[in-house]
Symmetry: C2
Subunit: 305 residues, 2 copies
Amino acid sequence: MTVLVVGSVALDSIETPFGKAENVIGGSATFFAASASLLTRVQMVGIVGSDFPVDKLERLSARGVDLAGLEHAEGESFRWRGRYRHDLNSAETLETRLGVFSHFLPKIPEQFRDTPFVFLGNIDPRLQLEVLRQVRKPKLVACDTMNFWIESRRGDLLALLKEVDMVTLNDGEARQLTEETNLVKAARWIMAHGPKHVIIKKGEHGAFMFNAKSIFFAPAYPLESVFDPTGAGDSFAGGFFGYLAQTGDLSEGNMRRAVVCGCAMGSFAVERFSVDRFFEITKEDLNARIDEFRKLVAFEKEVMP
Amino acid sequence: MTVLVVGSVALDSIETPFGKAENVIGGSATFFAASASLLTRVQMVGIVGSDFPVDKLERLSARGVDLAGLEHAEGESFRWRGRYRHDLNSAETLETRLGVFSHFLPKIPEQFRDTPFVFLGNIDPRLQLEVLRQVRKPKLVACDTMNFWIESRRGDLLALLKEVDMVTLNDGEARQLTEETNLVKAARWIMAHGPKHVIIKKGEHGAFMFNAKSIFFAPAYPLESVFDPTGAGDSFAGGFFGYLAQTGDLSEGNMRRAVVCGCAMGSFAVERFSVDRFFEITKEDLNARIDEFRKLVAFEKEVMP
C-alpha cells in the first residue's frame, strides 16, 4: 500500500564535529520519504522555492516517491542552519528562514486523496487539520508536532488529536503537551485526548509505543559513531509507516515490528549527512540491522527456582 | 552460591515531591544486600557508628544477610541528606557527613574470604584494591565507582580495573572516566583497560552490558509513578549479582537474564523509600516483573518480502 506524507522540504546547512554540509536536502517530508521509499510507494506533499535544486530530488522519484504534490513557488526555499556540539544530543539552531514555507497551504492532488496511510509531518496543526479535510477515510493517520506548535497553537493541536489515530512526538514534547513528567502518564493523557496509539521518541534512548493495553519499547541502535543526527525522528517515522504500508497489517505484533524498523531507519539516517545513507542501503542491510536489534534485546526465559 | 558486598551503610534523609523520610537505612551495601538477598545468601562488609539503629538491619539478617563483616565504630554513621525535584532525574545533595565511614578500612572476615561472587560498592578505589588483597580467587569480581574517585583517584582506579572482571557505572561516569562521549567507545576503552564485562547504567533509560563479542540492552521498567530513585543503581547490582550467584552460571545468556533481573530489582527499589519495597515482594513478584520486561521488548520475526 501507499503512504502519503505532508511536511517540510528544506535546504539544511549543518556543522557537526565530523564535518560540514551546505544546502543539502532536508525537512520532515524529505527524510520521511527517503526512509519509507525503501519499503513502499510514497506520495509527498510540500513546497519548495525557485532556488531549490530540484535535481536533488531525482533520487527520491527514482525510488518511487511521487512528487506530484510538491508545489513550486516563487521565492526562497525553507532553509535551516544548525550546529551539533561534541555530544550530538541537541541541535543549536543558527538560522531559520521559512521562505515560501511560511505561506504553505497543502493541496492534496486528487489521485492522493484515497491513500490509506497518511503521515502529517511537523507543520502548523491548522494545516494538518486542513490535510485531513482533503483526504478520504485513510486506514491510519499519524501526526508529529513540536514545541513551537504546542505553545502557540494548543487549541488547534487538541482539535487535531481528536482526528488522528496516532501521535509521534519526542519525550520533551510529550511532557510539554501533557504537563506530565512521567512518560507513561503523558501517553495516557494523550490517548485520553483522541489517539489510540502514541509513540514517544527518546532519541539515543530509543522509543516507546503505547496503546490502551500495552507498552512496547525499542532501543536506539548503539552506533559507535553518529555522524549527523538531523532527520532521525522523521526517518524513524518513515521506517515505521513504510513497514506498515508495505505489510498492510495493523495488528499489535506488526506495529511492534514497524517500530523496530523505524529505529533501524533512524540509525541509518544518522550515519551520513542529509538522506544520503538511504541510497546506499538495501533491504538486506535493513533486515540485517533489524536482526541486530533482536540480538541486542534478546534474553531467554528461565523460570527461577 | 554466596555473594560478598563491600560498601557504604548509611542513614539517608530524603525529600521527594511525594514525601519525606528521615534517617532511613541506605548506602550502597545496604541496597545491594536487600536486593540480592531475595535471590541468594549475602555477606555484607561495611561500617556504622554508635548512633546506628542496628535493629533496622534485622530484616536483612532475617533474610540471610550475614552481618559478621559490619564494623561498629565509635562516632557518627555516614549520613546523606538529599532532595529530588519534580523530574526525579537527579538528586540534589543537601548534606553529606562521612562520620566513621571516613576511616573505613574493610576487614573481610576469614569465613568470607572464599566467597565466589564479590561486589565492590562505590568506595575509595584504594579500599576496593585492599578488599581484593584479602579475598581468595573469586569467580567474579565487579566494582562500581563515582565521579569523585574518577577525578581524585584516577591512578588507583586504573590499577583496580586491571584486577576486576566487570565494572558497573553510570553513563556520565563512563564518559568522565574514558573521555569518550559515545558509550560504545567508552565501553571498549574500559575493556581495553582490564574488565571483560562492562555494565553502563542509564537510570530511567535502561542499561547496557558489553563484552568483547556482544552488546545487550535492557530498558528501565516504565513505571507510572517513581517514588524515590535513591539506591536504584545498587539495587540493580544486587539483582544482577544475586541472580548470577543463585544460578552459578556465567554464560552470556545467563548474564543477560541477570541484567533483566537487575533492572526489575531497580524498578522495585524506586517504588518506596529506603529498602522497604524489597520486604514486600516475593520471588513470584520478581518473576512477574521479569515477564513484563519480556513483553515490553518482544517483537516477533518476520522476514520482509
